[in-house]
Symmetry: C2
Subunit: 290 residues, 2 copies
């Protein structure tokens, strides 16, 4: 691991499979090793990489869940130690009697943290509890990293909280579904999720790294298009293909995010905020129904 | 004016000139008439259309400012009456001894409201006071309209407050400057402002209509690229050319924004918000310096 602001990032786009936790563990391990072979310091796996997405029953959801000391997270943490890297992986977390759509941050020292998805999409509401971790920022050797999961990126408040807390890179394990308005990629090969990532990067002057899955589960189609976006909104890697496995590898310097954010003494994109005018965002009435 | 959710929108891209308030009044009138001839119900002029942008002195800034009863706003309001339309126009507002970078909403009945720019960019801080209006939503015959000005669109909180309050269309008078990181348009002809508009539209499921200026003033280059974006983030009109005048005219149905926002009982992009987790956005410490 380089002790600087430079990091070699790898986004893994593949198809986990619901109902096959052992297979998903092997698939994840294989992609982590492949990313390590490509020189990665930080590897991002898709949302719910341990479990698959479209549960059919409570029993199946339970079967596919695991705690942070369970076999899947333990194996992936072991690989972090062996290969000297960090991993952000989506997983179905069992914590006591509650399940979360979560992402773990793993490193050579083991489990460094967990983020639990704040904004649950559609049927996820049947199988998971809403996240209770807030939006933690993790200090890694190369810089400050936040995590969002899929639907979270349509809630600009979440990325903004992470930016205010100093995040320079957002890792986004995701399972973008085809029926989420734009069916798939446009004529440029971008899907709606890619535009959402560019929006967050532009607004917050940080890197956004989204690792999506591909394939189909029980009639739900996923759209790939994993991407890495720079702090000025430029597309650095991807979007990856809609339906093919992909490993996007790129070396980035998080110093870019630090520089982009504070530009001149008169022009500071975080310091110029007007918290006095945003009250509606945190009031209970602001919760909805216009 | 159609009494429905349908509106014919016109975005006027041209070059106001600093130090020439009479000329700017005539230019604005001419563009409003041209938009009316094209069938517009709602016309958007650029930021500071009455005054130009790059003031050289306090005296010049004072000369170019006007109150809402002044000659420029009065003439443009008269045109709204004559041509039966609404106008959103950037102007330098003098209110008592204070100046604001503002936008007026004008209609057949006169001045319907004023929004004062909340986030001042760079040297604007020398010539204007920070806006004190918050983010008002205006109910027009065809739907609910909010206004943001230029740099405001890099603060996702502002558009989000407007969305929570029910806005279906954001009108954005703007003066995007070339040195705002991306120098001009990318190989697709989009500038950074266009990506920012797509981000806001995607996150908030509303239309974003940005009318930019072109030309140069005292070494400051403006980049055109005015655009109209749909509630799914699709580019409906534009981006207009970087350096040429343009009138973008499009008939849109604001019902699309209403439909996009509440999709299923289980999936409500505003109702799914988590105000309990966004506290940092409205706290004084959240004001900056990470």
């Amino acid at each position: 691991m380089r002790q600087s602001s430079t990091v070699c990032l790898a986004l893994c786009q593949y198809a986990p499979q619901v109902g096959d936790p052992e297979g998903n563990r092997r698939r994840g391990s294989s992609w982590i090793n492949r990313a390590a072979d490509a020189g990665a310091d930080l590897v991002v796996l898709p949302e719910l990489a341990s479990s698959g997405y479209t549960f059919e029953s409570e029993e199946e959801a339970l079967l596919c869940a695991d705690d942070t000391g369970g076999s899947t997270i333990s194996e992936w943490a072991r690989l972090c130690r062996e290969r000297s890297l960090h991993v952000v992986c989506g997983f179905s977390e069992r914590a006591g009697g509650i399940r979360y759509n979560a992402a773990a941050l793993l490193g050579p020292q083991g489990v460094l943290g967990v983020y639990r998805k704040a904004h649950l999409f559609n049927d996820e509401k049947s199988y998971f509890a809403p996240g209770d971790t807030g939006f933690p920022v993790f200090s890694l050797p190369f810089g400050k990293v936040g995590i969002l999961i899929c639907y979270d990126i349509w809630f600009p408040e979440a990325a903004r909280v992470l930016a205010v807390r100093g995040a320079e890179l957002l890792c986004v394990p995701t399972n973008w579904v085809a029926n989420f308005r734009k069916q798939a990629a446009d004529d440029r090969g971008w899907t709606m999720g890619d535009y959402a990532c560019v929006g967050l990067a532009t607004q917050n002057q940080l890197f956004v790294a989204a690792a999506d899955r591909i394939g189909e589960e029980r009639g739900v189609q996923f759209v790939g298009c994993s991407c890495l976006v720079g702090p000025d909104g430029s597309m650095l890697e991807g979007p990856a293909p809609v339906a093919e496995e992909a490993l996007l590898v790129s070396t980035i310097d998080l110093e870019w995010a630090r520089r982009a954010r504070r530009r001149t003494p008169r022009n500071d994109t975080l310091g110029d905020r007007r918290p006095d005018l945003y009250g509606e965002l945190t009031s209970a009435e602001g919760a909805g129904r216009s």
